[in-house]
């Protein structure tokens, strides 16, 4: 009787536990499409991109500014405005597709397909496996044919949620976008009149506008990439 009992346990294990183990193991594996995207991005060790940045936040009046974006593997990224003050979403700008995927510390979950701007895109969710990473979850909308990420939505631990929309041009082969739009939630802005010394001259239209629009965007339109020419670490 005893050998038969063990045989039953083994059968149960094979019937239930092994498929469970297999499915968990499969989930932990990286999606082949993500691999394809990563391979494309792996061609770029570093880049310096020149572009124009537009800040669109309801309570900020800012003009277009020329910027340089520096990137170095695995996840160093710096946006510098040429000779001026730059405003960037807190913590969000560093969460580009290169910096997300280059960490390799995530697991993927397929989340179906969606049509975005007329393109049929595969949706994949990334969950970090390293607790020290700043982000909690990121959803990627990927073109399965071109292996290009068109949109990401990332939730961070401390800096809220960000959406990054990408458009591609002549640097699509390297997976580098020609235009990036960061969307983020903004908080209220108010300084007491006693500090600004603006007594009785409030601009009511600006106040109303600030209350209406709680979403901010920062757009960077790239004109030129200089790829794999080496960047010193002190830039970042």
């Amino acid at each position: 009787m005893q050998p038969k009992k063990y045989k039953n346990i083994v059968c149960y294990f094979l019937a239930f536990a092994f498929p469970l183990f297999l499915s968990v193991n499969l989930m932990a594996q990286t999606d082949p499409l993500i691999e394809k995207v990563s391979q494309k991005l792996a061609q770029v060790n570093d880049y310096v991109a020149e572009g124009v940045m537009k800040t669109d936040v309801a309570f900020i009046k800012a003009s277009l500014g020329k910027v340089k974006v520096y990137f170095k593997k695995p996840n160093l990224l710096k946006v510098k405005k040429e000779g001026g003050i730059s405003l960037l979403p807190r913590g969000g700008v560093s969460l580009t597709i290169n910096t997300l995927l280059n960490t390799k510390q995530y697991t993927t979950i397929p989340a179906g397909n969606q049509v975005l701007n007329g393109k049929n895109l595969t949706v994949i969710k990334l969950i970090p496996t390293d607790d020290n990473l700043d982000w909690v979850i990121s959803t990627l909308w990927i073109d399965p044919i071109e292996a290009l990420v068109y949109k990401t939505a990332t939730t961070t631990k401390e800096n809220g949620s960000y959406e990054i929309t990408m458009q591609y041009g002549e640097y699509a082969k390297q997976g580098l976008a020609s235009k990036i739009i960061f969307s983020f939630n903004t908080k209220d802005y108010k300084l007491p009149n006693g500090i600004t010394l603006e007594f009785g001259d409030e601009d009511p239209t600006a106040k109303q506008k600030a209350l209406k629009n709680k979403k901010g965007t920062i757009e960077i339109t790239y004109s030129k990439y200089t790829i794999n020419q080496g960047i010193p670490n002190n830039i970042f």
Partner: protein, 291 residues
């Protein structure tokens, strides 16, 4: 006329009282600059608390342009009081000393003397403003350097490119000269009404304080009279630092949000200057010089 102005200028700059205003402005500016140089980051951090919740600001926020703006906000409210020290003494001081009778017995008309005194007081006012501009703008630029002007207003933030800032300061100082000349002319009018120095000086200062309080209070009853008070318009130099945006919320370089407001304020201030000086001339022409 020029010789009369020279005489009046000589009288102004011979008095030690004249230099109190220059010294006070220099001391205030140096103290504020020193404070901001040592502890400016904490001050900027306090101002930018709400912004830092959402955005990372990269660059030299606390630069010479912002320091100058902060200084002007603080000082252009108080400089009129310093202007009153001299302007309100121009006629009454002489009446008090008994020299007004001597002046008016010269071949020059009373109108000539009054206008010469007003022009001399105006030159003093402009020099005071140039001194203020030199210390607040150029010394701040030298100490703190330059960058874009990151201006935090009550409800919104204006980011003006550094190449688009300097002309705005020129405009603001020209505007401020009209504001201060209005105070000069008010002091002058008060001076023509009295035979001692203290009364017109205190009277001018009181009028400025009184009307400034009325201008800053947001009470509907006072809102009716506010547009006619010179103190309401004196602060509109700030309009040079507000910028237009297009439909895409992009700031338009070289633009001013509310030009009509600046024009209206300049017109109101000019009318006040003309009114006060004309009234002074009429009062002096009709005045019996008894001292």
């Amino acid at each position: 006329m020029w010789s009369l102005i020279q005489i009046e200028l000589y009288k102004i700059f011979r008095r030690p009282r004249t230099y109190i205003a220059f010294g006070a402005i220099a001391a205030l500016i140096v103290v504020i600059q020193l404070g901001l140089k040592i502890d400016g980051d904490a001050y900027a951090g306090f101002l930018m608390k709400d912004i830092n919740d959402t955005l990372t600001v990269d660059g030299k926020v606390l630069n010479g342009y912002l320091i100058c703006y902060i200084l002007l906000q603080l000082l252009l409210v108080h400089v009129p009081l310093l202007v009153a020290l001299i302007a309100a003494d121009m006629i009454s001081g002489e009446a008090n000393l008994g020299t007004l009778r001597l002046l008016f017995s010269t071949p020059f008309s009373r109108t000539h003397w009054v206008l010469a005194k007003f022009i001399a007081a105006s030159i003093y006012t402009i020099l005071l403003l140039i001194w203020l501009a030199f210390l607040a703008l150029f010394v701040s630029m030298w100490i703190f350097g330059t960058d874009d002007l990151f201006l935090m207003k009550s409800n919104y933030v204006v980011l003006i490119e550094q190449g688009d800032v300097l002309w705005r300061y020129v405009g603001a100082f020209v505007f401020a000269s009209f504001s201060l000349l209005t105070v000069t002319s008010l002091g002058f009018l008060m001076s023509s009404l009295s035979s001692n120095s203290i009364g017109p000086i205190v009277g001018t200062m009181s009028a400025i304080v009184f009307f400034t309080i009325l201008s800053t209070l947001n009470i509907p009853l006072f809102n009716v009279v506010k547009p006619y008070l010179f103190t309401t318009h004196m602060n509109n130099w700030k309009e040079f630092f507000d910028i237009k945006v297009n439909l895409n919320n992009e700031a338009i370089r070289g633009s001013i949000l509310n030009i009509p407001k600046i024009k209206t304020s300049l017109m109101v201030l000019t009318l006040h200057i003309i009114l006060f000086v004309t009234a002074s001339v009429i009062i002096i022409k009709k005045k019996d010089i008894l001292s």
